[in-house]
């Protein structure tokens, strides 16, 4: 009987090790592979204002800078449409941040923690401050919103000039797929999860999500949810607006409820929030979607216009 128990234990251990070592079938057309890489790593001056204009004039330094960051397993592609929509303007700058650990190989992604993801936002923010920019506006989508909320909750801005606005598109505090809550149990068995991308999306998002990264996602979600339960106060002179799709297959719309209840302005008022009539996750990214309606385009345009108006009420976008 004892030997059967030993065999069983060995079997479980071996199964565990094998399942942890599961590696997906990665092809060269995927971001996960060793061929494709996020362009911002090769040409940071095309994406980051701290590289393209590290010594702004006093006029430039006072113009709004939108520091955009993308969601879990995504890339700078997620905010390309805001840049193209803004092309030709000299009224504001856009700095597209690639989250740490992202835009590289599957193994690089697998090895990164949410602290690594967040570090890119902090580094660009600090470079912009050091360069003298004074009107910095954080723009997040999905998980980067969660990372930005953690920066507020942990007091990151307490010893530095805080952002003028924090604009959050489809933030995630509650995932739509509740299976994520079981990742601690299921993760070692699964090894990774297929993202279910269409072929055109594969160069810009990871096709496979390592269970280690899903644990990190669950971790940061829990951290921020608990922060919000206790209450988070914004820095003085920082405004927040949340834009949340009413139906969202990735970030449950109830995430907006938790943020609205848990986050307040420095003077104790409610933040601004808009429930958007959309069924898309990160409805501000429309390219490569299989189906885009007129309403989706209108939602995207309205939100981009709102960003600009909030960052500098004097700017009129043409």
């Amino acid at each position: 009987m004892a030997s059967f128990k030993k065999i069983g234990i060995v079997f479980i251990l071996v199964s565990g090790v094998l399942s942890c070592n599961k590696t997906p079938d990665i092809t060269p057309d995927m971001l996960d592979g060793t061929v494709l890489i996020d362009s911002s790593l090769l040409f940071p001056e095309k994406y980051l204002v701290s590289y393209s204009n590290p010594t702004p004039t006093s006029t430039e330094a006072s113009k709004p800078v939108f520091l955009t960051a993308h969601g879990y397993s995504g890339s700078t592609f997620e905010w390309n449409e805001f840049r193209s929509w803004s092309s030709g303007t000299d009224q504001y700058f856009i700095s597209q941040v690639l989250l740490g650990g992202h835009g590289r190989t599957y193994n690089d992604f697998k090895a990164a923690s949410w602290h690594d993801w967040q570090s890119s936002i902090k580094e660009e923010y600090e470079r912009l401050l050091a360069a003298g920019y004074t009107n910095i506006n954080l723009v997040g989508s999905s998980t980067s919103c969660t990372l930005m909320l953690e920066m507020v909750a942990s007091g990151y801005f307490s010893d530095k000039l805080p952002p003028a606005n924090i604009l959050l598109v489809d933030p995630i505090v509650i995932p739509s797929s509740k299976i994520l809550s079981l990742i601690g149990v299921l993760g070692p068995v699964l090894g990774y999860v297929d993202s279910g991308l269409n072929p055109d999306e594969k160069p810009y998002w990871y096709s496979y999500r390592p269970e280690e990264t899903l644990r990190q996602l669950q971790d940061i979600i829990n951290v921020v949810r608990k922060d919000l339960e206790k209450g988070v106060v914004l820095p003085a002179n920082t405004r927040v607006k949340v834009y949340k799709s009413k139906k969202d297959p990735t970030a449950d719309p109830v995430s907006a409820v938790l943020i609205y209840k848990g986050l307040e302005t420095y003077s104790g008022n409610k933040i601004e929030l808009e429930m958007v009539d959309s069924e898309l996750h990160v409805y501000t990214r429309l390219k490569l979607r299989e189906k885009v309606t007129d309403k989706d385009v209108a939602n995207q345009t309205a939100t981009f216009e709102d960003f600009v108006a909030r960052a500098n009420p004097q700017v009129v976008h043409n």
Partner: protein, 154 residues
């Protein structure tokens, strides 16, 4: 008939606590088949004095216990019920905030020679929100402990 208090933790979400009662009929598999009623809420858990969502759960259950007259009695059951979450602000009026509940539950009942029994189990909500439909803070896996006192004997 037993009455008691239920302490529940949903995995990666809230503590929700409440009250429970169960009854076994002398005419129907006495002390093996139990019918139960449970009310538990985050108001008495994580949402107490915090910004967590206030949500209420009502369950009706049927459970079958084995090892009659033993101290440790494994059981399996099924719960059906109703879930409601309060989002408090009109801006969220379009979001689903209620749901039918359906969950299998498995655990053990500890009937030690003390004035109360302990019922420890885990369950799995088969109906959860998915971001498009359903209540967003109805999560699948939970563990619970119910402390029960016998108030009526056959």
């Amino acid at each position: 008939m037993d009455i008691g208090v239920r302490l529940q933790k949903t995995v990666n979400l809230y503590m929700e606590n409440g009250v429970a009662a169960r009854y076994s009929s002398p005419q129907l598999m006495y002390d093996k088949l139990y019918f139960g009623f449970t009310y538990f809420t985050s108001r008495l858990g994580t949402a107490w004095g915090t910004n967590a969502i206030k949500q209420d759960n009502i369950l009706l259950s049927a459970s079958y216990y084995i090892r009659k007259d033993k101290i440790i009695r494994p059981f399996a059951g099924v719960n059906v019920g109703y879930f409601h979450a309060s989002y408090e602000y009109k801006i969220f009026r379009d979001l689903d905030n209620q749901s039918v509940m359906l969950s299998p539950e498995f655990g053990i009942n500890i009937d030690a020679p003390v004035p109360f029994k302990a019922n420890v189990s885990f369950g799995y909500n088969l109906i959860t929100g998915n971001g498009v439909n359903g209540a967003g803070t109805l999560y699948p896996l939970y563990v619970q402990t119910t402390l029960l006192w016998r108030v009526l004997r056959k």
